[in-house]
């Protein structure tokens, strides 16, 4: 090959340092538009406006300004770089988590993840190496890609690959229909209705969205779910941490963490990894000076996915409440009262052991003037029930799908709803708002039968009795044709429960002083987990609560943990959005097909590529074509 003039190709990025070991990680970005791309996530000097071979300090931030890391960037201008293209190297802290976040931001800004050896390949194509070096690199690429291939296969087991395969089939079918219309328009075949196509695309987008969303969650699983234990001095943070960790001695590790010199402890529960933040702070023997302690706690809470608010008295409760007031709404919070062996039992008549049962500790909740006890929702749900819920999620009726579209992601007044929510007794609520203990059931024709109605009534009563869950029922008809009305009823129901809560708070102002389980602990919807870190009482419940928090976070059965898969899924949904836009504009099938092919291409990067032959084969097998 002749010397090719240096031609900048699309921007690619990848981590250039080994994973998980160094104190510093280096991310390399190379190609056309690298400087602008980095500039969009880097607060500091614009790389295009500085000299080549210079280093600059700044911060990497998410779109909303959240700090990801403080970094140094090195700027190399074409042709004076490794690849001879424009290159920026970002030196960040060596945590996998931080590196992934930065890569994710780069991808969001339009960079593509580099394939194994791609930097080297570019370097080589631009005339950077001699043949001997090149051969060594070739061997490296082959080895690298074999390894990453293995990883990819490992990640593709089970649900993820199944789900994607199903998506791919649907999309191939869709693409075939469009191609059929284009290549065989003259013949006597039936063509896809645009409305059907739109529905199919919406289905696909709906299926991909939770996969994309699950990426953060999947990432967290890989890195460990960050947990912060927050509480006033002497409430027993350190004892609790040790109690939790001691239980799991065999799998407790101390690793070099995300920040310069912080040691983080991790533990594994039910196969989920938890990472305790700022344990150094917790372990310090002397009490923190107030101001430092609060600042430190705030930082830890900010980094955590789950915040464990620990208190042992009304005073210490007030402390954590003050801290909790600033927490964003989507932060998972567990309220934990420690030292119940010393305090709680004395002031509140707890549930009797016989009612409590061995494995289902009750959390207590104040209701009216007395303390009534409801079962905690954080239970070990029997596997068949979970399985059933999962099944129901996958085979959602159209009415359920429609309502879920309206409720998901706190769309309705910011209330958090879950769907197909299982309770221990085997019921699965179609939708559930934990905060206000409100369930929604959708009735199809099945529920119109007498037997079924009686069962439904009994079930509603039991849910109320055991869990204080109110159930509101809609028919599929109502959801479809009177959607607005149904939503209005729903709002009314939630507000009624809210009113109840507020009223009760007013009714019992004194109780908060007397009872450790006072309403001040955050209204009716919040459970407090009573424990004694010292005697280990309640620790099992706490652990179950931790895992429950993580599992509820996953909106999909399938979790995307691979950044490359994430990238492809994002691009696939972008292409599908384009198809949707095209359908809205009424453009012709050939242009729709362009975007469909793009979507297929991106899914193909994960599931194996699809070629035009596959589409033709599908057409020929399904349609009678040809004169």
């Amino acid at each position: 090959m002749n010397q090719v003039p240096i031609q900048q190709q699309e921007a690619i990025c990848a981590v250039a340092t080994p994973s998980g070991v160094g104190a510093i990680g280096v991310i390399r970005v190379s190609g056309q538009g690298t400087f602008d791309l980095v500039h969009r996530i880097f607060r500091g000097r614009h790389p295009a406006q500085v000299d080549s071979h210079t280093i600059h300090f700044g911060t990497i931030r998410e779109a909303d300004g959240t700090l990801v890391d403080e970094v140094l960037i090195s700027v190399f201008k074409s042709p004076r770089s490794f690849t001879k293209e424009d290159v920026v190297e970002i030196a960040c802290h060596g945590s996998d988590y931080v590196i992934r976040q930065i890569l994710k931001l780069l991808v969001q800004q339009g960079a593509r993840l580099a394939r194994p050896g791609e930097f080297t390949q570019r370097a080589f194509l631009n005339g950077q190496f001699d043949l001997v070096q090149a051969e060594a690199v070739a061997d490296l690429i082959a080895a690298d890609s074999a390894a990453s291939h293995r990883t990819a296969i490992n990640q593709l087991r089970g649900g993820f690959s199944k789900k994607l395969a199903a998506l791919r089939q649907e999309l191939i079918h869709f693409a075939s229909l469009v191609e059929l219309e284009l290549d065989f328009g003259e013949e006597d075949v039936e063509f896809a209705q645009r409305d059907d196509l739109r529905r199919l695309i919406l289905d696909l987008l709906r299926a991909i969205a939770p996969l994309v969303e699950s990426f953060d969650y999947g990432n967290a699983l890989k890195e460990g779910v960050p947990v912060a234990i927050i509480g006033a001095p002497n409430v027993g943070k350190s004892t609790l941490l040790n109690a939790l960790l001691n239980e799991e001695k065999a799998i407790v590790t101390a690793i070099a963490g995300t920040t310069r010199d912080v040691i983080e402890d991790t533990m594994v529960l039910d196969g989920l990894k938890f990472r305790f933040i700022d344990t150094a702070g917790i372990r310090e023997t002397t009490d923190l000076v107030e101001s430092i302690g609060i600042e430190r706690s705030r930082q830890a809470m900010h980094k955590a996915d789950i915040v464990l608010l620990l208190f042992d008295s009304d005073e210490t409760l007030a402390d954590v409440q003050a801290l909790a007031a600033d927490l964003p709404a989507d932060k998972k919070v567990l309220w934990v009262r420690n030292k119940v062996d010393l305090t709680a039992r004395r002031t509140v008549p707890g549930p009797s052991p016989s009612r409590r049962g061995e494995k289902s500790p009750f959390s207590s909740k104040e209701k009216g003037l007395g303390v009534e006890v409801y079962k905690s929702l954080i239970q070990k749900i029997p596997e068949p029930v979970l399985e059933n819920a999962r099944h129901l999620r996958q085979t959602a009726t159209e009415a359920e799908v429609l309502l879920w579209e309206l409720l998901r992601n706190r769309q309705l007044n910011g209330w958090k709803f879950r769907r197909q929510y299982p309770v221990e007794e085997g019921f699965v609520l179609d939708f559930f708002c934990a905060e206000y203990r409100l369930g929604i059931e959708l009735d199809g024709s099945v529920h119109e039968e007498t037997d079924q109605r009686q069962y439904d009534t009994a079930r509603t009563e039991e849910l109320k009795r055991l869990y204080n869950i109110d159930v509101i029922r809609f028919t599929n008809q109502e959801v479809f044709y009177d959607t607005e009305l149904a939503l209005a009823k729903l709002v009314e129901a939630v507000e009624a429960k809210q009113g109840l809560i507020q009223k009760k708070e007013k009714q019992s102002p004194l109780l908060s002083k007397q009872s450790p389980f006072s309403s001040k602990e955050k209204g009716l919807g919040v459970e407090v987990i009573p424990i004694s870190a010292q005697t280990q009482q309640g620790l099992d419940a706490l652990k179950r609560a931790l895992t429950a928090q993580v599992l509820s976070q996953s909106t999909s059965d399938t979790v995307v943990t691979n950044l490359r898969h994430y990238e492809q899924l994002v691009k696939a949904s972008e292409a599908l959005q384009e198809v949707l836009t095209g359908l809205d504009l009424g453009i012709t099938g050939d242009f729709l097909a362009q975007d469909i092919r793009l979507a297929l291409h991106h899914l193909g990067e994960i599931t194996g590529t699809i070629v035009s032959d596959d589409l033709l084969a599908n057409i020929f097998s399904k349609f009678c074509i040809g004169k």
Binding site: A138, E187, F591, R597, S612
Partner: protein, 620 residues
């Protein structure tokens, strides 16, 4: 008796004719050998050229300086632009041809081409020395010397015709098969296979009742194939549409036990997209009717082609079934339909020039490569003829890219992927089809054809004029702006949103509801000027304004992939010497011997990491 030829073309069908004409027009001394001088350029199946994706190919052949477009224009009896309701890349010209005129016109063109000699004979053997072509040996025992040979044997190699339980050797009905060549080539190490195709019965048009069918007339303003100034049609003949029904299917089923397809007598694989009628009712039993196109065979003949009724059932079953079709109650059959099996050579044994990898200067084109269709054959003939000439004169190979032409897609598919069934072009095979439109084949290919000495100067001037006018018009549309008060009433009449500020005609033309016709109304002074421009330039500008974003998207894709297409692989590259290649990738690469990295990347089994490895090895 014979001089030494530069190129001998064996076979005078669509591929052979284009090959002979191309090589001769470029300056080679050509001998065209055919078994029968009376059947040059026979349309052995339906009397039509073009269609979806195929029409684009005919225009490409024409743009390069081939003859098929000219012949089609001069001999058509009906023209339709298919897929008009879809995007411009889907518009596909198709014509109904006068079968006899078509063949006559081709023969006249060849006879008037200097440098083309004819010889009626059957080639039995290719003369080869040191893996290089020396000439051919015929059934008369003649040895004719040449530097290159193009084989375009169609369905004649060991052709076997089936009608019901009868079968007999033949290349077409009433014509002998050719034997000997397959055996010789196989002995040389070529891999050969067997394919099958079929054709429907022909009937007497006077015996049909057209009042029971739907009329399918030609376009009101018929277009044409050639970019040259061939005359458009003034009058046209209609085709007719009718349908099979349960009774037809019932009768056909009575012949299934004698069907050579179902009994297993036919071994070759037929095309899935061109099934016989018995295949249709067998595989799609739930479909209660199938479309039949009744196509006239010419201006002055009563013979009619029953398109959609391809069959190899016994002739009496064919006849009885036909009679159950509405409009066919009193049908008189001229010739029965039949199936034919023939030899082909898997095209993975070729280079992208259509030269065989095994024997230098031996070229294959048309059905011998496993394709089907006149258009597919013609374009291969053209490319083989061009490359034979280039080889003989030691000039650069002519290879069209996938982003350049359907022809490029076709040959790249054949050579890299091979084919199991007769290969037909579809638009969906072309990943850059938005760029490969019938309206721009001249812009894409004529400069190339001209540089090779095939497309004449007039063609090049026409393209230059079209491009210049297109650019000028787009510039004008961008600069000409209208005020809301001038146009809003009209825009509302056309159910498109009014404008709020001064807007360019360019922006308005982008709207789906508006076309150049409306622009003329909005800006009357434009109308006069447009009258002075070539209609093709106006169409071109309109397409570019309206579909700019899609065209641009695809152009970027081409650019992205382009670099790989430009990276050549050394001819005798030693894949065994590269340990880093995967086992499967290495085997596939050794077999396919791709000429570029892009080509290598399309071979199934060659992984992206194999490509990375290759690129590094080839980097110097």
């Amino acid at each position: 008796m014979f001089p030494k030829y530069d190129v001998i073309v064996v076979g005078a069908g669509h591929a052979g004719c284009e090959a002979a004409a191309a090589a001769a027009n470029m300056g080679s001394k050509v001998l065209l050998i055919t078994m029968n001088m009376q059947t040059i350029a026979q349309m052995s199946c339906n009397p039509a050229m073009g269609g979806v994706a195929k029409g684009q190919i005919v225009r490409e052949v024409d743009a390069l300086g081939g003859q098929s477009g000219l012949v089609s224009d001069r001999t058509m009896i009906q023209f339709r632009m298919l897929n008009r309701s879809k995007g411009p890349a889907m518009w596909s010209p198709r014509c109904q041809s006068d079968r006899m005129l078509f063949a006559n016109e081709w023969r006249a063109i060849l006879e008037s081409t200097p440098n083309v000699d004819f010889w009626q004979d059957t080639v039995r053997e290719i003369l080869i020395k040191d893996n290089r072509v020396q000439g051919v040996k015929t059934s008369l025992g003649l040895e004719i010397a040449s530097s290159a040979v193009v084989l375009t044997n169609g369905t004649f190699l060991n052709g076997l015709i089936h009608i019901g339980e009868k079968n007999f050797g033949g290349g077409r009905t009433g014509e002998k098969a050719a034997t000997g060549l397959t055996e010789q080539l196989s002995a040389l190490g070529f891999e050969a296979g067997r394919m099958k195709t079929g054709t429907p019965p022909r009937v007497d048009g006077r015996s049909l009742d057209y009042s029971r069918m739907e009329e399918q007339p030609g376009d009101e303003q018929p277009g044409k194939f050639s970019y040259k100034d061939t005359a458009p049609l003034l009058k046209q003949r209609s085709c007719w549409i009718t349908y099979t029904n349960d009774k037809v299917h019932e009768v056909l089923r009575t012949g299934f036990d004698k069907s050579p397809m179902f009994s297993g007598r036919i071994k070759g694989l037929g095309p899935r997209y061109c099934p016989s009628v018995e295949d249709k009712i067998n595989r799609f039993a739930d479909k209660d009717r199938h479309q039949i196109f009744v196509e006239p065979e010419g201006w002055n003949t009563v013979e009619v082609y029953v398109n959609g009724f391809s069959t190899s059932l016994p002739e009496d079953v064919q006849y009885k079934a036909l009679k159950e079709i509405p409009g066919f109650e009193n049908v008189r059959m001229f010739r029965p339909g039949y199936a034919i099996e023939y030899d082909f050579f898997p095209p993975t044994q070729l280079k992208l020039t259509l030269e065989t990898q095994r024997v230098a200067n031996l070229f294959f084109a048309g059905q011998i490569n496993g394709t089907t269709g006149y258009e597919e054959a013609a374009c291969q003939g053209l490319m083989a003829g061009m490359n034979a000439h280039q080889n003989v004169h030691e000039k650069d190979a002519v290879i069209l890219k996938r982003s350049e032409a359907y022809i490029g897609v076709l040959i790249d598919d054949l050579v890299n992927k091979g084919t199991e069934e007769p290969y037909r072009m579809f638009t969906s095979r072309a990943e850059y089809r938005t760029l490969l439109r019938q309206d721009n084949a001249d812009i894409r290919l004529t400069p190339k054809g001209h540089a090779l000495g095939l497309a004449d100067a007039e063609r090049l001037t026409n393209v230059a004029k079209k491009v210049a006018q297109t650019d000028e018009l787009i510039q004008e549309l961008m600069q000409a702006k209208v005020q809301p008060e001038e146009v809003n009433d009209r825009l509302e009449d056309w159910t498109t949103a009014p404008i709020r500020e001064k807007t360019s005609l360019y922006q308005l033309l982008k709207r789906p509801q508006l076309s150049m016709e409306q622009i003329k109304v909005l800006q009357p002074r434009f109308s006069d000027w447009l009258g002075t421009l070539k209609p093709e330039a106006i169409e071109q500008a309109e397409i570019h304004v309206k579909y700019d974003s899609y065209i641009e998207k695809e152009r970027l894709m081409v650019e992205k992939m382009g670099r790989m297409e430009d990276l050549m692989i050394i001819q005798n590259f030693n894949y065994d010497g590269v340990a880093a290649l995967s086992f499967e990738g290495r085997e596939k690469l050794k077999r396919a011997r791709p000429q570029t990295i892009g080509q290598a990347s399309r071979i199934s089994g060659v992984s992206p990491s194999d490509i990375s490895v290759l690129m590094i090895y080839l980097g110097r």
